[in-house]
Amino acid sequence: MTAQALADAVSAVRSELDAHYPVLVDTTRWTWGEDGPQVQGGVLVSAQAKVYVDGLSERLAAEVPSPAVLADLGSDWTLHSWVLPLGRATLDLHRGIEGDDLQTQWTPPVILRWFARRDRRALVQLPDGTLGWMTSNRLMNAAPISDPWADVRRAAIGEVSDAEDSLEALAERARRRTGRPYLWGGNTDAAADCSGFVQSLLHQSGLLLPKNTRDQRRSGVRVAAAAIEPGDLVFVRGNTSGLGHVGLALPAEEGTQVIHSCLTRKQIVEEPLADFLGRYAFTAARRVLRWTV
């Protein structure tokens, strides 16, 4: 086996990736060491790392180490740049480079991870792990002396941590938003989708949830449907659409309520837990924070 064989295999895999991703973030450098292929640097997401590992091990018939996954929140923060958005206006992150499908929003101040730029768009990552494209003209390079995300308190599977405010304060903040519009991908005080609504509420209580319902469903610990308490996340799906949906349980004199940003009613609504579970199919309940009353 030669270094040339490795270089050829790497270039073949790289063109495969290039053809598949409109903008490929790839900082890998492959060398042939004593124990076979070695790699430094990484690619953006785990699916791309897998293409390298599978493609190279097949072509070289050798064990191939995985490149780093740059979007992993635990990845080495020196592997990418940091940027600071100017101004206080809400950041809109889009799924695609063209910017027509809202992925999520964020309200500054924040320092973002920066991965790539094309035309006037930048591929960045938020502290909750969400990747997306935004206009690059608001971004200034930042050179922090240590990891600016080191202190972010993120939800983790199996963990319940102490809330920084009371259940009463949470309920007050949530109810103030009743009637505000549903916005697909939205994540601000003015408008939000279901997962953005609960993410922003609990972020203000000191815990950062992932943005999408699927990842939120893996946060914290399981709660049985019959044991749901105020402050818990309640996950359901539409009986006909099958679409995943999430609401937050709140205390009320007449029993536990659920508040959620509702796609069909196009706004944030509150209703009794029993009605919520009656209209949708229950899929899970999770507890991520411990509350003082």
């Binding site: 279901c194 997962s195 699927r214 049985a224 449907a225 099958g242 679409l243 229950f282 899929t283």
Partner: protein
């Protein structure tokens, strides 16, 4: 609590006695999300959905 093999990896998945049909559980071994299709007998299926 009973353990049922994960349809994806074969690892044991603990199904709590109070779990409801349609509830989603996560396989600790492979991380895949599983739907509890029925509780008697316990049946698990790999869950996939369009997300928001």
């Amino acid at each position: 609590m009973t353990a049922t093999p994960c349809p994806e990896c074969g690892g044991p998945v603990e199904v709590p006695a109070d779990a409801l049909p349609g509830e989603l559980l996560v396989c600790d071994a492979c991380g895949v999300e599983l739907e509890l299709v029925s509780t008697d007998p316990v049946a698990l299926a790999v869950f996939e959905e369009e997300e928001k």
